[in-house]
Amino acid sequence: MATRIVVDPITRIEGHLRIEAVVDGNRITDAVSSGTVFRGIEKIVENRDPRDVWSFVQRICGVCTHIHAIASIRAVEDALNYPIPKNANYIRNIMTLTQFTQDHVIHFYHLHGFDWIDVLSALKADPKATSQLAMSLSAWPNASEGYFRDTQNKVKNVVNSGQLGIFANAYWGHPAYRLPPEANLMAVAHYLEALNWQKEIAKIHTVFGGKNPHPNYLVGGHSSTINLDDVHVINMERLNLVKTKIAEAQTFVDQVLIPDVFAIAGFYKHDLWGGGIGNYLSYGGVPTTDIHEANSYLFPAGIILNRNLNKVYDLDLKDPNQIQEFVSHAWYKYPDADTGLHPWQGHTDPAYDGPKPPYTNLDETKKYSWIKSPRWQGHAMEVGPLARLLIAYARGNKEIKELTDNALKRLDLPLNALYSTLGRTLARALETKYCVDHLAGFYADLIANIKAGDTQTFNPEKWDPSRWPDEAHGVGWAEAPRGALAHWIKIRNGKVESYQAVVPTTWNASPRDASGQKGPYEASLLDTPMAVSGQPLELLRTIHSFDPCIACATHLITPGGHDL
């Protein structure tokens, strides 16, 4: 008999997400995904100075703290046709790849890790055998028997104290956990090491942006100044700090993350459920030259439909018929309930008509989420590392192809194994490797450009609003760690007239649309096994494989829409 389970809050994500799932026997047969928080930031930026807006919309998310600011700045620069100096592009790319590397590592260990790693099982491990296992996988120096014994004791002390803290009440011992105790202990040690490491790579943001989270940016370039002969600005000491942190990050990814992911994936390689929708989208990002030169992107843009890698469609963010958002099942009011709107035409007002709290269930036949439903030419799309990997693969990106083929060979899995929960996680790990290596590349580019005598970081040409047209509109796009992210702006008389964002989790966590088509979370949960009733470990694993970021997704309000 089918039962309906509710998981709220979904933890180890950003923001507030509620999943309701119908379980029949030991399979999920239907799922409902609801974003349960709304803040209205796009309404707040109306009538503000467009040069300030990056700081407002950066606060859409403190996890992807970098990427909203970049999208905003690019939207303004796109509207004003405002070119930026080479160094600014390099600095932005270094900050972007820093964000990716840090965020993906945190995701794997701290947000996703407990879906694969059984902490209590680690207490049963033999530290000597763990040491042998670790040394067989990697040259990482923290691998002695004593080291793992200490880690085990740390966890033991927490457990024995009766105050389990973050480990309390989880699904330890669940049959869906497949790692032997030694692998669990190694992973728990790396959980703690990754926690200590992530704050180190963030220092790259601090050098260029003054702080992290929420570093600083500038329309027209970047705010940190380069002068090798001054103590107060970016000089050799500052650049060396960045270089050191990049080198440490490369070591961590090569010697800890990648070996762990392969070791863990080896035990889970037959759990290949959770593939979901099969349509993939990337806005494209990290331009080696300029954002308007799409063939220079580290992450190529494109669309894949129905898992067909032989055909990659181009997308146009400015075409009113390509990207549209629907609110048939989201708590917003549209002029015409079932007609989608392009972000420049966006016309949205919150209109809650769900159950009065406290409530026990949502009704998916009505509106049930603060997240809208974006669609590309009517199709629901998955975004994120797997989408980027597949699009780059299909576009013939040699590096990605090699990384992917080698990984699949190592795990002895076919390409279509990627269409799964595990595939998403594997793609994210491979992307981390790709990012950290290119991080070193952009650092070298920055140094070479400074060496060639160019220290400019800001273009003053269009800073003054008196040089702007009365009306302008633009779009700024990027790839965030979680997927495709873009901001659309309209500027009138030097102020923001309207603003709207279509971001990774809006794509992935979207509710059903006018035609009843499920969003990627909902679709991916179908057929997920549920080994123990009341312990939805497998459900969490699939949802976490998307790396949900709900603050980003819970939408905006735009003002009365002026048609283009």
Binding site: T11, R59, G209, H214, N216
Partner: protein, 363 residues
């Protein structure tokens, strides 16, 4: 883990060193020798401090900042100093099991746990703009605050509603002290606050058994009683009248003062310039961007436009228009106007002396 003493022993610290540490701590606190056994006793016997951490209407930047803490290391903080019994962002359990863990600690440690709140509550439309487990943020907050020994409003969202509270505040976001009225609320503002400011505040409570001394606005004095301007690495250039006129200009390349491109350091009460960010690497002004005064109430409305400088030098200590000073300084670099004395705050349209208004944010 039974106590700090056990923890210390496990770290390889001897009894002798432990007592030395207690003596030193008593000395630092200005306590008499008779206090030493009391400190030692407290550290030997106290369980880890139970902490419930709520995320309401927020962007998670505060959590992200917190995990960047270097001293103490966040991993030590959660395994050895506190018991982080509920925090959506990191806890292993989800859904019902997560809620059960929260209720268990609330019952077992009633009156003794610390409640840390990141994010604002929302009053709009009966509170449906933020629900967790099917209940509103307000209800959850009230339920958790009831048994808390202390409540820490962590970050600008919790202390003044920050971004979602900016005009026109579409969700009627409110600071948590609007909801929690029968408990002392310690405000730890900033967007986000510096990691070590929150761990410092909690470790103070663990170590000394009291909440730290607060400013008149209810913020820990240790971090919020001086302005960014007071400790700024570019302060000498302000005093000398040497200003950046435009980003990346000659003055910028010499690290001159960012006041004229919009720096709000003179009205921002925070530890950024002294503690600095991410283990002392930098802070916004040092890295070339004006301070936006993110720790001040309503900063999104009072600090914008960000790239326009304050209408006047606060407290008129220069006695001149900064634009003229800048022009003079460009002509006679190095011989700028010398400024003495402290500068107190005054933002356009605001004249209160402490740089913020505790009532204003509770629209």
């Amino acid at each position: 883990m039974e106590s700090y003493y056990h923890w210390a022993v496990q770290k390889g610290i001897t009894r002798r060193d432990f007592l030395k540490f207690c003596t030193m701590m008593a000395g630092m606190l200005g306590l008499e020798a008779t206090a030493i056994p009391r400190i030692a006793n407290a550290l030997e016997t106290k369980p880890r401090l139970p902490v419930i951490y709520l995320n309401l209407q927020e962007c998670t930047c505060c959590c992200e900042s917190l995990i960047r803490s270097s001293h103490p290391l966040f991993s030590d903080f959660i395994l050895n100093m506190i018991s982080l019994d509920y925090m959506e962002t990191l806890q292993a359990a989800a859904g019902e099991q997560a809620e059960a863990a929260r209720k268990k600690v609330m019952n077992e440690h009633y009156g003794n746990y610390v409640l840390v709140v990141e994010g604002s509550a929302t009053l709009g439309e009966g509170g449906i703009y933020c629900t967790i487990g099917g209940v509103t943020a307000n209800e959850l907050l009230q339920e958790c605050a009831a048994g808390a020994a202390a409540v820490i409003a962590y970050g600008s969202c919790a202390t003044n509603a920050c971004i979602q509270g900016a005009h026109p505040n579409p969700t009627q976001a409110v600071p948590i002290r609007r909801i929690v009225k029968d408990k002392p609320v310690i405000d730890v503002p900033g967007c986000p606050p510096i990691a070590e400011v929150i761990t410092g505040t909690i470790v103070h409570y663990i170590t000394f058994g009291t909440i730290p001394e607060l400013t008149s606005l209810g913020r820990p004095k240790a971090f919020y009683s001086k302005r960014v301007h007071d400790g700024c690495t570019r302060r000498a250039f302000f005093d000398a009248g040497q200003f950046v006129e435009q980003f990346d200009d000659e003055g910028a390349k010499k690290g001159w003062c960012l006041y004229k491109v919009g720096c709000k350091g003179p009205v921002a009460y925070n530890a950024c310039a002294v503690t600095e960010w991410n283990d002392g690497v930098s802070f916004p002004v040092k890295s070339g961007h004006p301070c936006m005064a993110c720790s001040e109430n309503n900063w999104y409305d009072s600090s914008t436009p960000f790239y326009t400088h304050l209408a006047e030098i606060p407290n008129d200590v220069i006695g001149k228009n900064p634009d003229q000073i800048g022009l003079a300084a460009l002509g006679i670099a190095g011989a700028g106007v010398i400024v003495h004395g402290a500068v107190t705050s005054a933002v356009r349209g605001r004249s209160n002396k402490d740089g913020s208004d505790s009532e204003k944010d509770t629209r």
